[in-house]
Symmetry: C2
Subunit: 214 residues, 2 copies
Amino acid sequence: MSRRPFHRASEAVRRQDLIRATLDCISELGLRGATVREIAARAGVTPGLIRHYFSSKDQMLQDAYREVMTGMTSAVSAAADADQSNPRAKLHDFIVANLTPPVADGRTLSLWAAFISHVRVDPAFAEIHLESYLAFRSVLEALVADVLIEAGESPDAKRCRELAIAINGVIDGLWIEGTLVGHLFSETPLPGVAIKSVEALLGGISLAAKPQTN
Amino acid sequence: MSRRPFHRASEAVRRQDLIRATLDCISELGLRGATVREIAARAGVTPGLIRHYFSSKDQMLQDAYREVMTGMTSAVSAAADADQSNPRAKLHDFIVANLTPPVADGRTLSLWAAFISHVRVDPAFAEIHLESYLAFRSVLEALVADVLIEAGESPDAKRCRELAIAINGVIDGLWIEGTLVGHLFSETPLPGVAIKSVEALLGGISLAAKPQTN
DNA sequence: TTCGTTATTATACGGTTGAATAATTACGAG
DNA sequence: CTCGTAATTATTCAACCGTATAATAACGAA
């Protein structure tokens, strides 16, 4: 019966370790497998420590949810702002980033679905969902507006919103399908499908890196 | 301490009651709230009875998952075959059915998400997902092919599949958003957005009930 | 060094879980 | 009418859950 050796870490990395372990558990074992004991084991600490950093297990789950969503939005936003200044290229890269790893992978989708299934159950999760959804859509809406302006069209607010909603739908849907049964799309790469679809939604505006007559 | 009165029912209705109670629990309390005791209570039976009709709780969850998915696809298929013989009207009704109750409601989405989050965890759930996805897509693919034929275009297999994938994406994405935060779309009804989007994806083919020049 | 504070571990508790088994009741065959 | 079979209830069990509390070790200030 030797006592587990102490290992002190800063609050930042401890919280990060615990959240990462939480997400690992959920993605690999499901929500029911994400127990305080299993999470603590994977984080390399004892279960009691969780309630030293989080007021409850649910609190930790909510923080984990928030981190997943902000991580996704910031990842695709960064991809859009990466190198191009061309509005169409930015939207193009934004869409592709949504449908390629690390955003489009099984782990992320499992986490997203597990949390979504709790949105209607727990108001705290509903609020996190609403925040992250609006953040994502506002980014997309701005990208669409820039594309329309560059194409010489008037950036009508209502049309921008409607387009953003529809494009968001295409992205979400293909993200889910491609991640869950990705092996079915080896001959129909989804980023390509998405780009073509969005071009159609935009009324024929090309999103190719090198503008080509349409 | 009076003994609970016996109430015998046929195997069919018992299984149905138990599955319905299971789905109620999941949608209202989440997967962690779907315990054998709560499910049995809602079905009006004793917990032990569950394992008389299902080899395990997981087995019952899988049957419940299968029922949810077949219910959804059959509902939208029925909507497509309801009254119209016009291919475009059929596709139109199919899409609208996907984005209106009972398919598009919070309960169904919660169930879907809860199960999806288990697809990567349990191979049995993965198989059910694959089956239901392929069933849905094949229905949609046939509808798209008929529309293309009627429009005088060659129903190229690859194009049909690609269109079905993209349309499926639009439907899925809008279904999720509309169901989770439906109150945001009171001024932008999603069925309308979906129809306009699919028309764009189809290259301008109108899905309106009364064909109009495009 | 000393000592108070706090991060971390260890242990305990009441309640719940899925499953297994035993007891009881309804129903159908004969 | 009887009795065997199956459906349903009742009870039990070992394991596990989230949380609370106490013991201990590390760190920083003085």
